[in-house]
């Protein structure tokens, strides 16, 4: 071997490594995945004052340590569409707030930054949220108009590097994602992890938060959830949505609330309840590498069976491949 061929070989090797590295190196700073995750499914037929009792029973199974903590409930309030179940139901949110109070939470706040509708107060008033949270004396923060802090992202699927995020979210000890279980015409599903798009502030990124679409919805979900941990999930699947979600789909009763201490496990379970293969959802496929568990073997099902429906949820044609059958 001559010196010239050695040099050429080294340069080639270095170039190859530099090209391949972005594809081979992990796009997250560290693995946060727990060894095992817990999921509970509570069967509920309707939205009523009895939700609090049902939730409290499930909370006890998780033995949550909430005493003295500030709890942030992040429901999915995307818009107000008369007659269509697009938002997390207010009765579920207030029931969760009361349960966390009973567990000794220092404070409970509801916060959301709707993605389409700039008038958050209108969504609150017209969806019945305002009256419900006022009745329970629960403070609400509009995350679209909150004070912002520049945060380095803990994963790099989008290449954005950083986001400005609301101080209210960052300053709470315990973040609870409370999605509405829905199909989504751009991302297949919208569950606990996609629900975190609502913490990205409209005042900076606009309505909708179009930069997340251009950066890739699945990629943005991963970057946001790697950066702002979801400590607990309470997913509203009592009346879910199928078809052309998140706004123009049709109601589909699932009669279930899905609770979990791992958002990946929660979303994988919801996907199964919708009749989808979780591993076919790109962000879940990627999230199992570092954020949580989707495999049934790694999830302790502490309440309720995971029953796939006879007929999977309807989706727009681009996401037909998600359906298990």
């Amino acid at each position: 071997m001559t010196r010239r061929s050695l040099l050429a070989g080294s340069v080639g090797l270095a170039a190859g490594a530099a090209t391949a590295a972005p594809f081979l190196l992990p796009k997250y700073d560290r693995v946060r995945r727990p060894a095992r995750s817990r999921v509970a499914i509570v069967q509920v037929d309707e939205y009523s004052e009895r939700l609090e009792g049902a939730l409290m029973g499930a909370f006890r199974l998780f033995a949550l340590n909430i005493a003295g903590k500030s709890v942030l409930l992040k429901p999915n309030l995307v818009d107000f569409v008369p007659g269509v179940n697009v938002n997390t139901h207010p009765l579920l949110v207030t029931a969760a707030a009361e349960c966390f109070r009973r567990l000794g939470a220092h404070s409970v706040t509801v916060a959301e930054g709707p993605g389409h509708q700039r008038d958050t107060q209108l969504v609150l008033v017209e969806s019945g949220f305002q009256d419900e949270i006022a009745k329970h004396h629960i403070p609400f923060v509009d995350l679209n108009r909150d004070e912002l802090v520049k945060i380095k992202l803990c994963a790099n699927y989008t290449g954005l590097g950083h986001l400005f995020l609301p101080r209210t979210v960052l300053s709470h000890d315990f973040v609870v994602s409370m999605p509405k279980v829905k199909t989504h015409h751009w991302s297949g599903v919208t569950l606990s992890m996609k629900n975190m798009f609502g913490i990205v502030p409209g005042a900076k990124y606009g309505w909708p938060k179009n930069i997340l679409h251009w950066s890739g919805i699945q990629q943005s979900i991963l970057d946001i959830c790697a950066t702002v941990p979801i400590h607990f999930v309470i997913a509203d699947g009592i009346v879910a949505m199928e078809g052309n979600g998140p706004l123009a789909g049709t109601s589909r009763p699932l009669n279930s609330i899905v609770l979990s201490d791992d958002p990946v496990a929660a979303d994988a379970t919801c996907a199964r309840l919708m009749g989808f293969k979780p591993e076919r959802i790109p962000y879940i496929y990627e999230a199992v590498k570092f954020l949580g568990n989707a495999s049934i073997e790694l999830i302790d099902q502490i309440a309720g069976p995971v029953m796939a429906p006879d007929i999977p949820f309807k989706v727009v044609p681009e996401f037909e491949h998600l359906r298990a059958s």
């Binding site: 700039r118 107060q121 209108l122 912002l148 015409h185 679409h213 123009a248």
Partner: protein
């Protein structure tokens, strides 16, 4: 018909909320000045010769990015906000036709929705057709590098129309024309405007009050057409049942600009304001602008 004491009370509440260094934050207890509440507050106080207004103007001018745009809030990166148009409108209506205003206008003329690029236009015309819109008709985005949306487009048209009242350079006329075409292209099938497109996956989207109102304000002075008429009809009907001050305030400003009666809506807005239903200082300022429009003139009213 508007209670003078209420007007004065709302204005002093707004003045009290100004931050010590000038500018307004959204939150009533927040300390981070933001562009939108600052501009709306300056518009609401435009006839007042008080210290708050002077301090606010100074702050707004100081906040401008070197490229002529404005950041969305204190501490923001310098890429510029789609609400830069609102800063231009605030400066024009406060008599600040200074170099900074011109630089803001120049930045607006440079900023385009991403769909205006031939590559993206081709994509939207051929492979990505689930959203019904014509990418040849573009306006302004919320953030550079993203698509055109109704509110930044409408505010930019208002800024350009107010900034060039008599003689418009060709580039200004072209952007106003394209922006108007974009608004008319994105109209919801039942009248009015959503955040952007009116139809997604073949399903019509529901219009929003504030987006519809701001789009109609931008189309003020234009020859009446079906989109304007149906938008006004929808707005008038929908505002009747709204009890959210932000949307109600913008609805009043738009309906007033088209000479539609607003007395009933004003009375409801006053009642809501009296009960303290104002979520933040941007809403407070918008409410003052709506309440004042019959007395002090409609700041968003434009001619073609």
């Amino acid at each position: 018909m508007v209670d003078t004491a209420l007007r004065a009370g709302l204005k002093s509440a707004l003045i009290e909320q100004e931050l010590s260094g000038g500018g307004w934050s959204y939150g009533l207890a927040a300390t981070q000045a933001a562009l939108e509440p600052t501009c709306l507050a300056l518009l609401a106080l435009r006839w007042d010769s008080n210290l708050a207004r002077a301090l606010g103007l100074k702050f707004l001018l100081r906040m401008q990015n070197p490229d002529g745009s404005w950041p969305a809030f204190s501490g923001d990166d310098s890429e510029g906000s789609g609400l830069t148009a609102l800063a231009v409108i605030a400066l024009i209506n406060n008599g600040e036709m200074a170099l900074q205003t011109e630089r803001g206008v120049e930045w607006l003329l440079r900023l385009k929705g991403r769909e205006s690029h031939w590559l993206w236009r081709w994509k939207f015309e051929t492979t990505d057709t689930h959203v019904r819109f014509d990418p040849n008709k573009f306006g302004w985005p919320w953030l550079p590098g993203t698509c055109s949306w109704v509110i930044p487009t409408a505010l930019s048209i208002i800024a350009l129309k107010q900034g060039f009242v008599c003689c418009k350079p060709e580039q200004v006329s072209f952007r106003i024309r394209r922006g108007k075409e974009m608004l008319l292209d994105r109209v919801c099938p039942g009248g009015g405007w959503n955040a952007g497109n009116g139809v997604v996956y073949g399903v019509p989207l529901a219009p929003h009050l504030d987006a519809t109102a701001i789009a109609l304000l931008a189309l003020g002075g234009e020859q009446s057409n079906g989109a304007i008429a149906s938008g006004l009809d929808w707005l008038e009907l929908r505002a009747e049942t709204s009890s959210a001050p932000w949307s109600l305030a913008w609805s009043i400003l738009a309906l007033d600009a088209y000479g539609r009666p607003v007395e009933g809506l004003l009375a409801r807005l006053c009642t809501l304001s009296d009960k303290g239903f104002l979520a933040d200082s941007a809403t407070l300022a918008a409410v003052i602008l709506a309440i004042d429009c019959l007395v002090e003139g409609n700041v968003f009213k434009v001619i073609a």
